[in-house]
């Protein structure tokens, strides 16, 4: 039941991680490979419930030991399978994170519970360990490449069938009469709780209340939202048992109960962002997996094969694949990022929406250079109406607001006349109109409404048009590929243009005169006195706007070339220590900074005009945490003074007291993001960014400061959350 996407901390961290661990804390005398092995085994347990936590893994391991002989077989099986995977040269990262181990764990728990121990059993075990690993890799990669689906526990089901079906033909092997867990003392409390716990225990082939109680505790630690959905799934099962299906006795807590529960957890927060829609989907999926259980029992019984987790696997496959065919805005929203606990997914998603959401798949910048004024916004009084309501007109005004010199009767009096017009985003030139004369001031050409123009295609169904260009100034040809900011032509007054101006619009279709669609620019600076950066902006009439004026010195200060090692001194309330940060790049080009000693990672990107931090994983007293808050978004412009606002993830910041309590209701009453206001100032050869967040209801205030030496690099970063401070200085 592995999660899709790369794990939190990948290879760069893992190389030196074990070494550093071996030198500190409990593992001082344990060799690194052994520690890595322990990590991998614990991770295999927690992966069964989509978690990565070692604590969760430990509790789940304890649950599997309610019948110690079964638990022992499971543990040995994971160790055996992981060793086989390492020896076979398979993905070590998948071993380390438990992704390769959880199917083996389930297979061995099953054979441990279903078969009588014997010498032949251990011979079989070696074969099974190899088989489950190979099936996992084969099925997993086939599903990933062809269907973009996770393998879930399908490898467990397939391998288990092979094992169970072959038992009668293996010398000295026999089925157990009944599951050993059923012989343990019964639950002293109400039957419904007993059923719940036994259903949960059944996930680890221990359908006993003690195992189930431990599993439930582990789920609660992992995620309150997941716990809520576990109860939801169980509720659906009880309801279905009572009102819909006539399940055989013991059916819920022995065979299918966990299918309801795990399906609900998976759909309610692991693969979809928690919310009312995903909760509804979880209830539906849960019921569907119940129905599938009955059907599969009926189908598989003649072959003597158990359904195991097949109902939930098939249900999830169908739901994930079918809903994967929808557009990006459909509910419930898929977790299309590195999945964490449902709470983390929810917070990350909401913060991402608040920080980066755009209805457009392409980042547009203003189609000109320097500061212009919007002279007719959307739904403008002159021409931006009806199908063309999303049009925008721009002109140039001097600092006193004059749009022309002299009396404005000549075209050249107008300040914007013959200024360069640039591509708003990368694209292909698909249509050019040229050769129409500029009309005199106060005259219009209503036959050729748009005048001379260039239409670019940026994506399927996404086109931009610049219009009223001056004849003979167009510098591109149809079929040319242009980069963002590349010069297309010069402003004119051709077409329906009483005075020289630039008209810009987006459209979903490629033809001249087609209807407009909503437009939004990214990285726009409002230049009315104090410069204010807007991550996303739609200019309105009379607003002075420009693009970020990128300065290389600031971009260089935040370059973090891959492979760079940065030594930092970290001062917290508890003392000072040093950390080494390593700049990493993954095969997909994702950039991050890693702190191996703190097992932390910070994802960032240089977007050309802005440096953005996407997320942080790691402790809140580490160097990367300070960078997360202090450098969340940095326009790469070393203006004398620039202000901007951002939203941070309160879960990452740790600014919400009693977050645990809130989590239970978070799916229905989502938490708010933490707004923070930044101001960047140039001071001598340094650039200083200060962030202040008063914190809204229930959030602790946050203050940050980052100091960069222009052209060189980071000098220091500080974050104060409530009364806690982390201060990071780069050591030369």
């Amino acid at each position: 039941m592995s999660r899709s996407g790369p794990p939190a901390v990948s290879s760069v961290a893992s190389e030196s991680q074990a070494d550093s661990r071996a030198t500190e804390g409990i593992g001082a005398h344990i060799p690194a490979p052994v520690l890595q092995g322990i990590d991998a085994i614990l991770a295999s347990y927690s992966q069964v419930l989509f978690s990565r936590s070692k604590v969760v893994g430990l509790i789940l391991m304890a649950a599997s030991f309610v019948v110690p002989s079964v638990g022992l077989v499971g543990l040995l099986g994971v160790a055996l399978a992981s060793s086989v995977a390492v020896v076979a040269g398979l993905d070590r990262e998948a071993v380390r994170t438990g992704v390769l181990g959880y199917n083996a764990l389930l297979v061995f728990l099953l054979v441990g519970a279903a078969l009588e121990p014997s010498p032949a059993f251990w011979a079989l075990a070696v074969v099974l360990a190899g088989l489950v690993v190979l099936v996992h890799v084969a099925v997993g990669s086939a599903l990933h490449w062809h269907l973009r689906l996770p393998p879930l526990s399908l490898p467990f089901v397939l391998t288990s069938w092979v094992a169970l079906a072959s038992v009668p033909y293996i010398r000295g092997m026999a089925y157990r009469e009944r599951l050993p867990a059923l012989d343990l003392p019964a639950f002293p409390g109400p039957e419904i709780i007993d059923t719940l716990f036994r259903s949960l225990g059944a996930i680890f082939l221990q359908p006993h209340w003690a195992a189930g109680a431990l599993v439930f505790a582990a789920i609660l630690i992992f995620s309150r939202i997941a716990a809520l959905h576990a109860l939801l799934g169980f509720g659906v099962a009880v309801f279905a048992d009572a009102w819909i299906f006539s399940f055989p006795p013991d059916f819920v807590h022995l065979y299918v109960g966990f299918n309801f529960i795990v399906t609900a957890i998976a759909l309610g927060g692991i693969y979809y962002v928690p919310g009312p829609a995903s909760m509804a989907l979880a209830a539906f999926g849960s019921l569907a997996s119940g129905m599938l259980s009955v059907a599969l029992v009926h189908v598989l019984q003649p072959f003597g094969l158990p359904v195991l987790s097949l109902p939930l696997v098939l249900t999830l496959f169908v739901v994930l694949y079918a809903l994967g065919q929808r557009g990006p805005e459909a509910l419930p929203r898929p977790v299309d990022f590195v999945s964490g606990s449902p709470e983390e997914n929810l917070n990350y998603f909401r913060t991402r929406v608040a920080r980066f959401r755009s209805a457009l798949p392409v980042r547009f910048q203003l189609p000109f250079r320097g500061t212009w004024v919007c002279t007719q916004g959307n739904d403008g009084e002159h021409t931006h109406q009806g199908a063309w309501r999303h049009g925008l007109d721009f002109e140039v005004a001097d600092r006193e607001g004059n749009r022309h010199s002299a009396d404005g009767k000549g075209l050249t009096d107008w300040l914007c006349y013959r200024l360069p017009v640039t591509a708003a985003a990368p694209g292909t030139v698909i249509r050019i109109v040229d050769g129409l004369e500029d009309t005199a001031v106060d005259e219009v050409d209503t036959e050729n409404n748009w005048g001379n123009l260039v239409i670019l295609q940026h994506a399927p169904g996404l086109y931009s048009m610049v219009a009223h260009l001056s004849p003979g100034t167009i510098e591109v040809a149809e079929g040319d590929f242009v980069t963002a900011g590349e010069k297309l032509g010069k402003v004119g007054s051709s077409g329906r243009s009483p005075v020289p101006h630039l008209h810009f619009q987006l459209q979903a279709t490629p033809d001249v005169g087609d209807p407009t669609i909503a437009v939004e620019f990214q990285g726009t600076v409002l230049d009315n006195g104090a410069a204010m950066l807007k991550a996303r902006h739609l200019p309105v009439t009379a607003q002075r706007v420009r693009n970020i004026a990128r300065q290389k010195a600031l971009a260089m200060a935040l370059a973090f070339p891959p492979g760079q090692h940065v030594q930092v001194r970290v001062t917290t309330d508890s003392g000072t220590r040093t950390e080494e940060l390593i700049s990493d790049i993954d095969p997909l080009g994702n950039r991050s900074l890693v702190s191996p000693s703190r097992d932390a990672r910070l994802w960032f990107e240089n977007r050309g005009d802005t440096f953005v931090v996407y997320d942080h994983a790691g402790p809140r007293d580490g160097a990367l945490f300070a960078l997360y808050a202090a450098l969340a978004r940095m326009p790469l412009e070393d203006a004398a003074e620039l202000r901007w606002e951002d939203k941070l993830n309160p879960r990452r910041l740790g600014t919400q007291p009693l977050a645990w309590l809130r989590d239970a209701a978070a799916a229905l009453i989502p938490p708010g993001e933490q707004g923070i206001a930044y101001i960047g100032r140039r001071q001598e050869d340094r650039y200083v960014v200060e962030g202040t967040s008063p914190g809204s209801t229930g959030q602790r205030p946050v203050r940050t400061e980052a100091v960069l030496r222009l052209g060189q690099g980071l000098v220091s970063a500080r974050v104060e959350v409530g009364s806690k401070t982390v201060f990071v200085e780069v050591v030369d």
Binding site: L419, T483, D685
Partner: protein, 450 residues
């Protein structure tokens, strides 16, 4: 001055009135008795005569006009204030407050820029003479430094070897761009192949990183095509650097040389008709630069070191008539208290000289002399002026560029300089000199002091 006016023999003058003809400009004159809104007499009372005045508003508006004109046409632009044009701290600080870096051509100017709080990485260091110590300081501070000749290149490499980081430098080019005469003495000649030799020498040396190209076509260049052509040639070299050596330059520095509203002695038409606007200069340069094959996001920083065109019009000199006399050839002559000692630009400018009060009488050809006892001290050889009385004031404009930095302590001490802000407040930015200022560095050897 005696109280009784002295007798003057009458002379005959032809009345000339009407519009400009092919012989001369119109004889019409006007009067002005305020500088940036402040009465002339108030200024003379405060600072004496002569006095230089700088209008802060004009400085700011010119800077913004040029910056905006460039920023509308090129993605990354930076002005660097040409210190030599006027390096009074107050004037420099107005430009720095408007975002301009500093362009210096000597260690002294470099130190002056530092004094004004300019970070070292915002100083452009040009000029044919940079000492070893100055090179080191500039490299350590990450200044933009343009190499002028091969000997300087060798010296820069010697310094670079002693530094932990490889310094970044630019190369100054001289090229044929229609401006006449060609300035061939600064930088490396492009057309002869010397510039490419310098590139190969610099890159091959391995001690320095080539990050920029610099070129300055001349001074008071009225021909826009010179800029268009120079920019295109510099862009051409930048293209070649990328194509052949995989070097992406970080900046292109097109120098300065824009004309102000002053009129040269050689100019036939008045400056309103000959001097291009800052916008036209910006357009010519950016048009030329479009020859550069580079994506917008990698476009190099365009640096301009405009001096004269930003500061000249902001400067006014108030002078006082000391004497009026008739020359043997019948022309009228006025002796002013400001001469070529403070008006270096009178060698080639035909200044606009404006009486402050409405004079009485008929305009006649007049020659204006300065106060020096030197035959060369001529402020203006021929100007149609009505008779001006002794003690009356005139405004001499534009004088903001070069005059203050090049004025001499020769025969006369240097006058005060003041600045007027937008509100009409004014303050001295350099006081009038006294004898103490003149002799401060002097000593008399012991054998003479007995």
């Amino acid at each position: 001055m005696s109280a009784m006016p002295s007798y003057e023999r009458p002379s005959i003058q032809r009345h000339r009135a009407g519009l400009m003809n092919k012989m001369s400009a119109a004889a019409a004159y006007r009067t002005e008795n305020r500088v940036e809104g402040v009465p002339v007499e108030e200024l003379v009372e405060a600072y004496g005569s002569p006095v230089f005045l700088y209008g802060q508003k004009t400085l700011e508006e010119k800077t913004r006009e040029l910056h905006d004109a460039l920023a509308l046409r090129w993605p990354r632009v930076q002005l660097a204030w040409s210190y030599k044009t006027c390096y009074l701290d107050a004037v420099c600080r107005v430009f720095h407050a408007e975002g301009a870096w500093a362009e210096v051509v000597s260690g002294m100017e470099y130190a002056k820029a530092r004094r004004n709080g300019v970070p070292r990485d915002r100083i452009v260091f040009n000029g044919p003479h940079k000492s070893e110590a100055e090179l080191r300081e500039a490299f350590e501070g990450g200044s933009i430094l343009n190499i002028d000749h091969f000997d300087e290149l060798a010296l820069a490499e010697k310094v670079a070897k002693t530094l932990p980081h490889r310094p970044k430098v630019g190369l100054r080019l001289n090229l044929q761009a229609g401006a006449s005469p060609r300035w061939g003495r600064f930088g490396f000649a492009l057309e002869t192949g010397q510039a490419w030799d310098a590139v190969r020498r610099l890159v091959g040396g391995g001690e320095l990183d080539l990050v920029g190209l610099h070129c300055h076509v001349g001074t008071f260049v009225l021909d826009l095509n010179s800029y268009r052509e120079a920019a295109a040639k510099v862009a051409g070299l930048a293209n070649r650097l990328r194509d052949e050596l995989n070097i992406n330059v970080e900046y292109l520095d097109l120098g300065g040389g824009f004309a102000s509203s002053a009129r040269l002695k050689s100019q036939y038409l008045p400056s309103e008709q000959t001097t291009p606007s800052l916008t036209q200069y910006a357009e010519a340069i950016t048009d030329g630069l479009s020859a550069l094959n580079v994506a917008d996001e990698d476009a190099p920083l365009l640096i301009l070191e405009t001096g004269r065109a930003l500061v000249d019009d902001a400067g006014t000199l108030i002078a006082t008539v000391l004497a009026s006399k008739r020359l043997p050839d019948g022309r009228r002559a006025l002796v002013l208290d400001a001469g070529v000692n403070v008006l270096f630009t009178s060698w080639w400018y035909r200044h606009n000289i404006v009486p402050c009060e409405e004079p009485r009488g008929v305009p006649e050809p007049t020659v204006l002399y300065g106060p020096l006892c030197m035959n060369i001290d001529v402020v203006c050889e021929n100007l149609m002026l009505p008779p001006l009385e002794v003690g009356s004031r005139v405004l001499i404009k534009p004088v903001g560029a070069y005059n203050v930095t090049q004025s001499m302590q020769f025969i006369q001490l240097r006058p005060a300089v003041a600045m007027i802000n937008r509100a009409g407040d004014h303050a001295v930015i350099r006081r009038a000199e006294t004898l103490d200022d003149l002799v401060i560095g002097e000593t008399v050897p012991s054998w003479l002091s007995e």
